[in-house]
């Protein structure tokens, strides 16, 4: 390993009295200001990069890590074998799984309940990494998961599998 010496840029007099550089900086910001203002006044495109979120849909990246989703096997049964690796690795302790015997001998164990408390989840993605049977993904492409109570933040297995729609958040009676 070699040491790379980075030469500091020489600061000449014009730099050291700040004024010239400040004026150049102001030139950049003033240019942005007046060009954007002109576009705003003339209703031209490109005046801002703001997305008016609730009205316009949020743009998520292709690999965005969003709400969890439980996957199914080809025969339609949940892939989860209730090995509890995700529950064990979860640093926020937001996953609760109860296991039961599976009716078939292909897999011997399956999840009876699988709850994720999204109010506690820190979206680290460890559960996805830990899963040996690729049963859980974080690619539901859904970020609007807020609710009016802590209880409503808990998603059960049917909801995570997509078999049941999570009820829309309701205001509790006043």
């Amino acid at each position: 390993m070699t040491v790379k010496v980075v030469e500091r840029p020489k600061r000449d007099f014009a730099t050291r009295i700040y004024l010239v550089e400040i004026w150049r900086g102001l030139g950049v910001t003033f240019r942005h200001f007046f060009v954007n203002m002109w576009r705003h006044v003339l209703r031209l495109p490109g005046a801002s990069v703001t997305i008016q979120y609730p009205e316009d849909a949020a743009v998520l990246g292709k690999r965005a890590r969003t709400r969890h989703r439980l996957l199914k096997r080809d025969d339609g049964a949940p892939r989860c074998t209730a090995c509890l690796l995700c529950e064990t690795i979860c640093p926020a302790k937001c996953i609760r799984i109860t296991a039961e015997n599976a009716p078939t001998t292909i897999v011997e164990k399956r999840a009876k309940t699988f709850d994720i408390d999204l109010g506690m989840c820190i979206f680290c993605g460890y559960c996805v990494e830990a899963c040996p049977v690729d049963a859980i993904h974080m690619d539901a492409n859904e970020v609007e998961i807020s609710a009016y109570s802590r209880k409503d933040m808990i998603w059960n297995m049917q909801e995570l599998l997509g078999d049941k729609k999570k009820g829309h958040a309701q205001l509790p009676p006043a």
Binding site: G25, H32, S48
Partner: protein, 340 residues
């Protein structure tokens, strides 16, 4: 007497508070447009957002109705007194600015300067400097080390730049031969604007003035984004008062620059004092427009430059601005002596 009260009320309520509220909007929108954003545009009355102009009103309602929380270690009387002192000093300065000259209407002379004093400049500078008491008091009464450290930074910064603020004016005041803001404006109306004869003083005063208002790049006493400042233990309208103090001080500094370097209410080529009511209206308009343009420039500087480090800040004040302003004064004195 009633006329003076009306003038002071108009200066503080009409000029100061309106521009301070307006600045809250300008600050958001200007930074937004500059950074390719849109800025605050959600507050509406009956569906009309009006370019987000209702946001300062929403802010005021929020601050007035918010809980005034006081932590356990707070010294209550001083905690309440501190924002009042800060804001009061800003208000007093506003009342001493020359918004206009003397006009003749309805058979008598009306002066448009709320508080007329032959010691206007030192009076305003003293009141501006007195604002540091509010800051130190706020930090001291908070019972919080973060607040106290912020207050210490604020005190050393304001004291350092107060010296530069006054000494950079020395040359200009020597030329005008007066400490009266109104007389300084009249001198400029009769000769040339101060920025022409004292360009160095203008830049020095603008820098020191930006520092005295505690706004970026000199916002080390507050530094809300990382180094919390003297108002860390304040909430609700008391915090709002500190916020407004900053805006008031910006307005005062811009008013001082306008009065001392940009010809005050004067418009070149027009003899405003002899034009009666129209002249008075033009005086007020001219003064306001100049102040607004300066505020626009200060706001742009605030959104362009990053914050100074504290040693850089004090170096700039004590080692650069102060000697330069003294040199400027000496050059002015020798120039006048040799020219005569």
């Amino acid at each position: 007497m009633i006329w003076v009260v009306v003038k002071v009320a108009a200066a503080i309520l009409g000029f100061g508070l309106n521009i301070a509220g307006f600045l809250g909007w300008v600050e958001r929108k200007q930074s937004a447009v500059m950074q390719d954003r849109i800025g605050a545009n959600r507050a509406d009355i009956f569906g009309f957002t009006f370019l987000g102009l209702f946001h300062p009103i929403a802010d005021a309602i929020k601050m007035l109705t918010k809980e005034d929380f006081q932590a356990k270690g707070v010294h209550k009387p001083l905690h309440g007194l501190a924002p009042m002192i800060s804001l009061g000093c800003g208000m007093f300065c506003l009342a001493a600015l020359p918004y206009g000259g003397t006009i003749t209407a309805f058979g008598r002379a009306w002066s448009l300067q709320p508080v007329e004093s032959s010691m206007g400049v030192p009076l305003v500078l003293a009141a501006l400097a007195f604002g540091v008491h509010g800051i130190v008091m706020a930090g001291f009464a908070s019972g919080s080390n973060y607040g106290l450290l912020g207050a210490l930074r604020g005190a050393s910064q304001m004291v350092a730049y107060e010296v530069c603020l006054a000494s950079s004016l020395a040359g200009a005041l020597f030329l005008y031969g007066t400490l009266d803001l109104q007389q300084a404006v009249l001198w400029q109306a009769a000769h040339v604007w101060g920025i022409v004869v004292q360009p160095a003083a203008f830049i020095l005063f603008l820098t020191a003035g930006a520092a005295i208002t505690k706004r970026t790049p000199f916002d080390l006493p507050e530094g809300e984004s990382e180094i919390v400042g003297y108002h860390v233990e304040y909430s609700g309208m008391k915090f709002g008062m500190f916020l407004m103090t900053d805006f008031f001080e910006s307005i005062v500094v811009c008013g001082l620059i306008t009065a001392l370097f940009l010809g005050g209410w004067a418009i070149p080529g027009l003899d405003l004092p002899s034009m009666g009511l129209l002249g008075g209206a033009l005086m007020l308009a001219s003064f306001t427009v100049k102040v607004m343009l300066l505020l626009f420039l200060l706001m742009q500087i605030r959104w362009t430059l990053p914050r100074f480090r504290f040693d850089q800040l004090l170096d700039l004040g004590w080692k650069n601005l102060l000697p330069l302003s003294l040199v400027n004064f000496l050059v002015t004195v020798w120039g006048v002596y040799l020219w005569r």
